[in-house]
Symmetry: C2
Subunit: 333 residues, 2 copies
């Protein structure tokens, strides 16, 4: 029999269609294929992007020339513009403001053919450092309230460039979905005086059926009420509400669990399109007892249709227990 499960954070119910019990081989994956052609993110083409705002490389490297390992540039076709005032105003019963924000591209590697799952540990640490460094820099702009880091891999997941990259958007408002998450965790905390994510980690480690992998600092789990098949979360084991406050051993531990998770996903679902999103506290908030930063990884295996769109109600054909078991059983190097 199918099962309704409730997300303990925002209270959303999902349908876990257990019978369908879809395994990796049951999905028609459209593996992302290389098309080629000119790539503005490749080493040597630095002059075809807006000037870089951050790059890691050897001492003495001239900006916007080759030699970098990770490079951050403003998006050439930004959804928001950086210059100007918000100019908040009403329009009858409606509210609007100018589309002020930052929209940046984190070029994860100079090598066009590299994918995240294939990168060395130390290189992925640099990518996370780039996220942190840009967030710390942009937080100084008092107009911004939230920074969202995310990655689209593959056309089916919304990527328009095939060269491995992530994106960052700094927003003058806290997005609805994040506000819901923050409100949900506060409600739980008010009632139980515990962080719901800390409770989840404790229960997952004790039940040990939805854990994908873990090390001393981080854990990867398939959540109890996932929206999508093989959805996986990576969480710090020690409570912390904000990603940029992570210390260096933390970056090492994060990368260990994150990279192992990406490699297991890539082995189970080769070159599957996916999105991941970094969920962290709003800017300039003091540490929150109730909120717990994490990364949500969502492979693109099912479609969002009228039912999901209209109800916010998702039907997931792969129970997370089975997804976690498949991922655990993958042999990786």
């Amino acid at each position: 029999m199918p099962e309704f499960r409730r997300d303990p954070i925002i209270g959303r119910w999902v349908i876990i269609a257990k019978e369908r019990g879809k395994r990796p081989s049951d999905f028609v994956i459209q593996p992302e294929r290389r098309v080629g052609g000119f790539c503005p993110l490749c080493q040597g083409n630095e002059n075809t992007t807006p000037p870089e705002v951050l790059a890691y490389g050897p001492p003495g490297r001239v900006p916007n020339t080759p030699g970098w390992t990770v490079r951050v540039v403003p998006n050439k076709f930004p959804a928001l513009v950086i210059e100007g005032d918000l100019d908040k105003q009403g329009e009858g019963i409606y509210d609007k403001m100018n589309g002020i924000g930052a929209h940046e591209v984190i070029v994860e590697t100079p090598d066009h053919d590299q994918t995240l799952a294939g990168m060395p540990h130390d290189h992925v640490v640099q990518i996370f450092h780039a996220y942190r460094d840009r967030m710390v820099d942009l937080e100084r702009d008092q107009r911004f309230r939230y920074i969202m880091v995310f990655k689209n891999f593959g056309r089916a997941a919304g990527a328009s460039l095939e060269h491995s990259h992530s994106q960052l958007i700094a927003l003058p408002v806290v997005p609805h979905r994040m506000q819901e998450e923050i409100n949900g965790t506060r409600k739980y905390y008010d009632y139980k005086e515990r962080c719901v994510y800390c409770d989840i980690i404790r229960q997952e480690r004790s039940q040990n059926v939805r854990v994908v992998c873990e090390n001393e600092g981080f854990i990867a789990i398939c959540p109890y009420a996932p929206l999508a098949p093989f959805e996986t979360w990576v969480l710090p084991k020690r409570h912390a509400s904000s990603f940029p406050s992570l210390d260096e051993p933390g970056f090492q531990a994060l990368t260990g669990v994150f990279l192992e998770t990406m490699r297991r996903l890539d082995r189970a679902l080769p070159r599957v399109p996916y999105n991941y999103m970094l969920h962290t506290a709003p800017l300039r908030t003091p540490p929150m007892e109730h909120y717990h930063w994490h990364i949500e990884i969502v492979p693109k295996l099912t479609m969002i249709a009228g039912f999901e769109w209209g109800t916010g109600f998702y039907i997931n054909p792969t129970p997370p227990e089975e997804a976690a078991r498949y991922l655990r059983e993958m042999e990786i190097d």
Copy 2:
């Protein structure tokens, strides 16, 4: 400059990328094409579906034989099962219950090649009658709290059958998205003692820039803060929280505006995949002063990527004022 706009119902901000100002011809529409092959929804194949639960046709017609105009059958591959108890229970900090529910298919026409936009007025009235009749019947089942009627047209919008049909799911919980809408309208009502949808209708009629069409009973508008290009809502002008309470002149007026809207959309974006969802009050609730039933029509023109998924924040390249103008200017018969 792009613009942030806030949805006055649930408070969600969207980005309206005005510069991009995408017109119908700027979108790469994947028009839905006929593939053919055996169709279980066609007249003559009644024995290949589960037995019908409703059908309109001539007096004396034998059930599950040809001659019907609109026919409703249980979904052969339901997401939920109709038999059993909910058996609500906890699992540590988590909540679950059995996947009890009804999942039905409304076959809108016996003719495989007919689309909604091409149907005669009186036939579309019958489709709405079928929605109403099934909702009234299923409401008697005390296990159900919400009924969602929706339509997926086209593979890109999630339809797996090409024969024109809609679907209905009866649920033992109120979906998250509907609960948000109901909470949002209650909050507005508590503060202003007015229905937010009634306020929207008043402002839209007075500004007259986002109205697509209207008659004495209904109005179609492109909402101020739409998630998607050419998103259009059809609302009753007179306040009512529940669709099944509509009277016969109401069904006529609804069909007039709804069908004109579908024809204008089909003319502007030929055979574009789309979803529509009927938003109505939860089952067995008394009439609500704050909630206002309506239909949301969403053409499938853009993709949901990591940013939208992670933030609940949508970037819409077509301002609703322009969408409404294009739709108004379409010449229809």
